[in-house]
């Protein structure tokens, strides 16, 4: 059926675009703010971490 093929092709394109849209963002270089945040979180709750009292 012509129309059905047509729809299938469109659905294939949709599937492809979904994956592409997602992976494009997912594979982008992660902004530093997130790495910094994780680092901060780690420092906050690591009691063994012998940090100088506060900043200043």
């Amino acid at each position: 059926m012509q129309n059905e093929n047509h729809n299938n092709a469109l659905e294939d394109q949709i599937a492809e675009n979904l994956r592409r849209a997602f992976s494009e963002r997912a594979e982008e270089k992660v902004p530093d703010r997130f790495l910094d945040l994780l680092q901060q979180l780690r420092e906050q709750d690591s009691p063994l971490n012998d940090r100088p009292s506060h900043d200043s």
Partner: protein
């Protein structure tokens, strides 16, 4: 509970060390929910803090990405509820008119696709992002969203049908794109292929 304490056997790996490897997919999922890059990254940021502080609720050996995505979507919806008390819900209003022409080569451009995708209701975007884009099973997606498997299936199917409809409305002819699409799918390793 028998008190067999695994005393000295502190796990060598802190599960929190794994979080960093999921940042990319978290950003992508956040974007499909918010449709806005800056908002998406704020959402990721907030979710990371929650994940970090609630790491005990992560069961080692289970899928961390699913766990993180669940936190992220819960955060999204609670922010959204908070916000909708202030302004009218922007979703659903726009769900409509726009249709998109395929590029000259007959191939749907990513940017155009995203424009149309952004018009879907959030539940459909979410279902498609989880199942269609990230490769979660319907079962996984259902448990992440706290709904029945059938609900996820129908959301995803309605989303696809709506996309087809909107893309149809803007087309001149998709006649000869099939081969290109087929090879693209094959190249992509047809893992999460649609069953429509």
């Amino acid at each position: 509970m028998t008190g067999l304490l695994m005393t000295a056997e502190k796990p060598v790996v802190d599960p929190r060390d794994e979080i960093v490897t999921h940042l990319g997919p978290m950003r992508a999922f956040a974007l499909s929910l918010t449709r806005n890059g800056a908002e998406a990254d704020d959402l990721v940021q907030e979710s990371l803090v929650k994940a970090w502080k609630n790491i005990e609720s992560f069961q080692v050996g289970t899928n961390m990405q699913a766990w993180l995505f669940t936190i992220l979507r819960n955060t999204f919806y609670s922010l959204r509820r908070k916000r909708s008390r202030e302004v009218a819900d922007p979703d659903g209003i726009a769900a409509g008119q726009l249709s998109v022409k395929p590029a000259h080569d007959g191939r749907l451009q990513l940017s155009e696709f995203l424009e149309v995708f952004a018009q879907l209701p959030v539940e459909q975007r979410e279902a498609l992002a989880l199942v269609g884009a990230s490769g979660f099973s319907y079962e996984e997606a259902a448990s992440m969203c706290g709904v029945a498997v059938g609900t996820i299936k129908s959301r995803a199917n309605r989303g696809r049908a709506r996309l087809v409809e909107m893309l149809h409305a803007g087309e001149d002819g998709y006649g000869d794109m099939t081969d290109r699409v087929t090879s693209a799918i094959v190249n992509a390793g047809a893992q999460g292929r649609l069953t429509a």
